[in-house]
Every structure is written in structure tokens, then in C-alpha cells.
Symmetry: D3
Subunit: 74 residues, 6 copies
């Protein structure tokens, strides 16, 4: 009866686009298969929720992601 | 001092509309009343946050919700 | 296909005991009924997870809950 | 290796605008500095995610935030 | 820079034991590999957090999990 | 009306001890002050919840934290 929450950044521009529908379907399938294989869970009661987060709302290294990445390449 | 997070799908089309403002108000009132009744919590320190999730971002049975529902009716 | 996460404090002492099994069952039933009534969701695909949080891990007013409550009655 | 999730309301109108990019950067920096100072965590493995919640999706006192605020000033 | 939260029940008795350390390591590896394969994420900035939930704290079908499972086999 | 969830590892041994009560109080105070300073939020409606995660339940780099740290120093 697992619940999985996957948070990823929306890449590609100020608004970002996030992963495509195909990529999200692949994340859902892969995560569900993993819980079936490792813990013997039933797919019908396995929920996977993908949350897409704007780049300016995600921080790492004390900076929004975009600034953090710039700081690494300077 | 409870915090409640309610995640529901946005139904009704590719973008979906999610629950109406009236439905969200009913979820907030019902959840708060429940915590008052069962645990004696104070409404003023009971937070309820409703998160609306696009259909393609919610997976069950290893599939995005829309595909999963189609598979059940085939 | 809702997922609901309910976070409440563990009351009653340093370790606290949290809500009883009966109280948790009442929260689960009440929340599920609410989602059925308001949004027409199916109980079989409605998950409710109760998380119990130690008093010293919950802050409000800039203080751990126990200190906050003391400050209100001073 | 901390993960911090900050949920705030989107203020300022039906759709709301949420905090500005500068305010979000300040939240990210302040939270990261705090974890470095208090727990000695490394900024490079400290994630901060800001989630902005529409006013009608946030409840307190059994009411959506906007109605709750109105009720306080009546 | 993904963050993944996996919530599973603690099976096997009133207190339950949850997944073993080996099973948790397999969930961590599998989820990380998936994000690398599907989205090209870097493992070093991919966090996976496993939360183990007591059976009486997880509800489905309006009942705590143990009662729900009993109801299915009656 | 913010809600902040801080997830940190429980350091120091197989079971770990997590941050001390004083450290958690400092996280609560610092986070609340930050939200007051940056967004003008009211402390009385600012919740901060600290979650302590066992080392074997936290993954990074595709490994549980303990193994990951060992791999960095090899």
C-alpha cells in the first residue's frame, strides 16, 4: 500500500516544462515495478505522485538552483 | 495543532479543473470538524492544505491515472 | 484516488502517546467518508496516513509546542 | 543531508502571486544558513523546496484563509 | 536534484518491522537508477527517504490496513 | 500561515539520536524568525515540524547515507 512522492525541477526556461508525459509514465512504471519486486506490493494499491517544482523554488547550496549551477561553472 | 495535507487529482480534461472552491471549503470544514470531534483540537491551529495533482502526474497500477482507468474498462 | 496525510502531536508526557488506535480509526473513517461525500471518491483508493510528531519536534510561535503553551498561560 | 519543505500562501488576489524570486532566494539562503549553523550540515547537500499554495486551498479555523481573515475582522 | 519520499507500511505484528535494511537499500538504488535513466539526474543530488508507517496509522477503504485486509477475506 | 517541514538524519550510531531538544528549538526559532523577516508572517500561525530519519532510511548517490559517506572517503 505504498505512496511515493517524486519531486523534480521543471527544467528549460523561466517557467520550465518539467518532464514529459512519457517520462512521467516511465517514472510511475519504474517506481511501481520496484515496489513489486523488492517488497511484493500490489500495483493496484501503489500510488506514485510526481511534483514539478519551478527552478526558483528549489534551493541547494543556499541558492536557487539556477544560481547554484552558475556558481559551479564559474 | 494538526496539519493535514489532502492530495486529489484534477479531473475533467487534460489540464483538469480540480475540485471547486465550494468543494475545497467543504473539505477544509469537514477535516477541521473531524479533528475537533475526535481529538479535541482547536480549529484556530488546525491547517488543511489541498493539493491538486494533474492526472498525468498521478500513477496507480503502474500507469498514469487516465491509462489506468481505461485499462479497467477494457 | 486521494492521499491524505494527517500530522498531529503526541500528547501526554515527554515521549507522548499520540492518539489511540480507536481515535486513529475514527480519523481514517471520517476523512474517507468526507472524500466520498464531497468529491465522490472511492474508499478503496483513498489512503489516509496519520503521522504522530513528538512535542519537541513541533514548533509554533517560534517555540516548541510545550514551551509555546506555557508562554500562553503565563 | 537535510530536506526542507516550506509551504506558504500565494497572497494578493484570486490567483495570488506568492513570494517574489528575491523572497524565495532569501528563504533558501536563510534556511540553509540555519542548518549549517545549528547542525553543521553541508550546504551542497541541503535542499530547500518552496511550495506556494492558493488561498482557497489553505484552510485554518475550518475556513479557507480568505474567509478566515474576514471572520477575524468582523 | 530530485527528492523522493517512499511511504510503506510496517508489516509483521502490532509494532511491525518494516522493510529490512537490504530492502531499503534496494529501494534507494532502484529509485536513483530510475531517475538517472529517465531524466538524466545526477545520483549525488538525488535524495530518497523511506518512511515506515505503523499498520494502525495507515487507512484504506475507510479502515486501518489490518481491518481492511480482514474485510477483504471475509 | 506557513508550514515548514525539516527532514534531517539521525546521526550517531545505528539507531541514531537525531538533533538534541536544544538544536530542534533553535531550528524552530530560526525558521520562524526567517518567515517573519522575509515574508512578514505571524509566528502564531507558523508551524515548523522536524522529522528525524534513520540513516538507513535516507539515500543519496544510490546508497544509504552511511554507505555513501564511506564511499566518499575510500
Amino acid at each position: 500500500m505504498p505512496y511515493v512522492n517524486i519531486q523534480v525541477t521543471k527544467e528549460g526556461g523561466p517557467e520550465g516544462t518539467g518532464p514529459s508525459a512519457e517520462q512521467k509514465a516511465a517514472l510511475i512504471k519504474g517506481t511501481t515495478d520496484l515496489l513489486v519486486d523488492v517488497l511484493g506490493k500490489s500495483p493496484a494499491t501503489t500510488f506514485v505522485v510526481v511534483e514539478e517544482v519551478a527552478l526558483e523554488n528549489w534551493g541547494v547550496g543556499g541558492l536557487p538552483v539556477t544560481d547554484y549551477r552558475s556558481s559551479l561553472t564559474e
